[in-house]
């Protein structure tokens, strides 16, 4: 069987984007191209074809200017599954500490033959900045409190996989919306694909203008849980918070934590997602995290194929723009 031929199906047709910087910019069709491409990779993995060759001979640089475990490993493995060589960079102990600028550091790494740059940075807009200064195709792996497109795509993929659709579903994002790049990307993606999105959390963690993105705002999880198909429990980002947005973790868990009592108020087939890392006992109790409604580990697996799909599509664009036959 010619596996290389298998994934070069029509599902990639119409992809022209050089970069994936966020879901705000992507159309419904482009979102579906990524999701469908990921489905194809998942199908191949299911039949044991986990090592593919389209990126053979190319280099993917993973530039992580902010700590990360799952996203970093996931991107690294996705590149390897597509047979790319990978370069890993982390800012600690790098030339940044000698005063070199972010852009100059990235340009230096690019000069070593890098075609694809995966970037995570604490500053919103950092991937856009690289897109202006580098020739490489840029993939945003999370920029501050702005966007985290591949996390949202894997969330959406997981929801679609479970329900067979996105349109018409009610998805509730719970927790720290103010500091969440995952929430922003999820909102753009889910809304474009036809979901009703509720954001739920304490008033101090919900931006006042968020309703202008077309979402419903709630400060009471118990009020919305019964009409929710999917709960996405966002982590309280203790590291990003300036001060005290709520009086105590105990109070937060009391008002917004997902526990057995609340599950009983939810729909029978409610789906529980969490982008992780999860704070057990805060956003979610262990029995729910490990219970039948939870797809947290499934999300992690889907993250790998979503990232493969993104890298592969950027590769298609690059080869097309260089006039190289695919």
């Amino acid at each position: 069987m010619n596996i290389d031929h298998e994934y070069r199906t029509d599902i990639s047709n119409g992809w022209t984007r050089k970069h994936i910087l966020g879901l705000q910019d992507l159309s419904k069709d482009e979102l579906n191209i990524i999701l469908n491409q990921a489905s194809e990779f998942k199908r191949l993995a299911a039949i044991g074809e986990t090592k593919l060759t389209p990126l053979s001979g190319t280099v993917v640089a993973n530039l992580f200017f902010e700590p990360s475990t799952r996203t970093r490993v996931s991107f690294g493995l996705a590149a390897k599954r597509l047979s790319a060589d990978t370069v890993d960079f982390s800012s600690s102990g790098s030339s940044l500490s000698k005063g070199e600028s972010f852009v100059d550091t990235a340009k230096t790494i690019e000069a070593m033959g890098v075609s694809y740059v995966v970037v995570r940075h604490k500053t919103p807009g950092a991937p856009q900045l690289l897109a202006q200064h580098l020739d490489a195709n840029i993939l945003n792996a999370g920029d501050g409190t702005h966007e985290h497109p591949t996390q949202a795509l894997l969330d959406i993929f997981t929801i679609r996989e479970h329900f067979g659709k996105i349109e018409g579903l009610t998805v509730t994002l719970v927790g720290d919306i103010l500091h969440s790049r995952v929430a922003r990307s999820n909102i753009w993606g889910l809304k474009k694909l036809g979901a009703h999105v509720i954001v739920c959390g304490p008033t101090t963690l919900i931006p006042s203008e968020i309703s202008n993105l077309g979402v419903e705002v709630s400060n009471n999880l118990d009020d919305v849980i019964s009409r929710t198909d999917c709960l996405n429990l966002l982590r309280i980002q203790f590291e990003r918070q300036r001060g005290h947005f709520f009086p105590s973790i105990r109070e937060y868990a009391h008002l917004f934590g997902m526990n057995k009592q609340r599950i009983n108020k939810a729909k029978e087939d409610v789906l529980i997602l969490a982008p992780g890392p999860i704070n057990r006992g805060v956003e979610i109790t262990p029995d729910v995290a490990d219970g039948p409604h939870s797809v947290i580990l499934g999300q992690v697996s889907n993250g790998l194929i979503i990232r493969m799909a993104c890298l592969y599509l950027l590769h298609l664009q690059r080869t097309a723009s260089l006039g190289i036959p695919g």
Binding site: F102, P124, G125, L129, G144, E147, P207, I210
Partner: protein, 426 residues
């Protein structure tokens, strides 16, 4: 005794309610007055098609010397001022060391004299080293020719210090210029808090951060009968509060920058640090309120808030980039774009905000073409269109979002103390 005749110009001098076609005579560096066509002079300047205005006065300029010469020097900054039509400027004390003693103020005057471009009026620090804890040597600074007091970008946070400063400066009849912003509400903020900051994931600075301190400063000015000048007002509610205070005869004045009249927070969509300024660019409803404030006299002056930064401080990630843009050389065209072209202000009303308005705030005997005044004059070409070219900028820094944009209107010829100090390149 040298004489200069400016012929056939459109004289606009709001200090005398002049708005007419006429000839203007200068004798021995002073304004002699309007004259008829038979008058002769040593030198004749043809001002056909030009507006003849008192030289502009910009009371909010950072010249960065000493300490930050990589951004600007007194020589380059005053050259930029001339190119913008500015003949007098108030120089911020945010240098290193801070201008908080007499010798620092005198150093600025010495360097300005060496540069021999425009007049420079030092502003002294309100508190030692801008730390907000102890009053600077205000009396000594007055002796060193400081014309007002400010901690520049550093808001005077402590209300008791502000109260003392307003009381103390009454002895010298000098204003306190404050940047109204409550620090704890603005901490880590990058832009205006609103819809766009929500989408972009950038920490916002709410309008209330400014309005709370405007309210406090007005209350303290009323309490002390001191003179408070609020710099770079940017919100609707600030304008309303100042309007009410003026109606109560509290000694409060205010200025606004051209970029806050033209650009909105939406510009940050590109994450371009050239749109990162303090106070942040706001939304259109705030701009509309600022324009109303200019029209009804609530806002007294327009200032550039010229804040030069070398390129390495204004590129890279937006969070690391410094706040502020240069403004001297775009002061006039951006005002023209935002105020004259849409019909919000007449030329006479605009020139008032650029001349006698700011002169009154700092108590300068400038901003007028009245007989006997220093012959500081700006000849404006209101029609010329051009692209803002980095090579043509006189400032050492190029941190402006208007670079490469098409602008209209510029200073064509600038006289300082009766001497032609600047002519625009053809």
């Amino acid at each position: 005794m040298k004489s200069i005749l400016i012929k056939n110009g459109h004289i606009v001098d709001p200090s005398q309610n002049l708005d007419q076609q006429a000839n203007l005579l200068i004798e021995d560096s002073k304004i002699k007055g309007l004259c008829d066509e038979t008058t002769t002079a040593d030198e004749v300047i043809d001002a056909s098609g030009l507006i003849v205005s008192p030289g502009f006065i910009d009371i909010h300029v950072s010249l960065c010397e000493p300490g930050f010469e990589e951004d600007e020097t007194i020589e380059s900054g005053t050259a930029a001022a001339l190119a913008g039509g500015v003949t007098s400027l108030g120089c911020m004390p945010n240098t290193s060391p801070v201008v908080d003693d007499r010798s620092s103020a005198e150093f600025i005057l010495l360097q300005a004299a060496r540069a021999a471009n425009c007049h420079v009026f030092p502003l002294g620090a309100v508190t030692k080293n801008h730390e907000g804890k102890e009053l600077a040597e205000i009396g000594q600074l007055v002796a060193g020719k400081a014309v007002g007091f400010t901690d520049a970008d550093q808001p005077i946070e402590n209300a008791e210090i502000m109260r003392c400063a307003l009381q103390y400066t009454r002895m010298f009849d000098r204003p306190i210029l404050n940047r109204a912003q409550v620090p704890e509400l603005a901490e880590k903020g990058q832009m205006h808090e609103g819809f766009h900051s929500t989408v972009l994931g950038l920490k916002g600075i709410p309008a209330a951060a400014e309005e709370i301190m405007v309210n406090r400063d007005i209350a303290l000015a009323e309490l002390t009968r001191g003179r408070i000048h609020l710099m770079c007002i940017s919100t609707q509610n600030s304008v309303s509060q100042i309007r009410r205070a003026k109606q109560k005869d509290i000694h409060v004045t205010a200025d606004v920058t051209p970029h806050h009249l033209t650009l909105t927070d939406q510009m940050l969509e590109t994450y371009d640090p050239h749109y990162k300024v303090l106070p942040p660019l706001r939304s259109q409803e705030h701009i509309d309120a600022l324009i109303e404030g200019l029209k009804d006299g609530t806002i007294d002056a327009i200032c550039s808030d010229h804040t030069p930064h070398a390129s390495e401080k204004k590129t890279d990630e937006i969070i690391g980039a410094d706040f502020g843009i240069i403004g001297l050389e775009t002061l006039l065209p951006v005002c023209l774009q935002s105020l004259i072209t849409p019909g919000h202000l007449t030329w006479s009303e605009l020139i008032r905000k650029l001349t006698c308005g700011p002169a009154k705030i700092l108590g300068l005997s400038k901003g007028t073409l009245a007989e006997g005044a220093d012959a500081d004059i700006t000849l404006i070409n209101p029609d010329i269109k051009y692209q803002l070219d980095p090579v043509s900028l006189k400032s050492s820094s190029q941190n402006t979002p208007f670079l490469g944009k098409e602008l209209q209107g510029r200073a064509e010829i600038v006289l300082v103390s009766g001497e032609v100090r600047y002519r625009a390149e053809k």
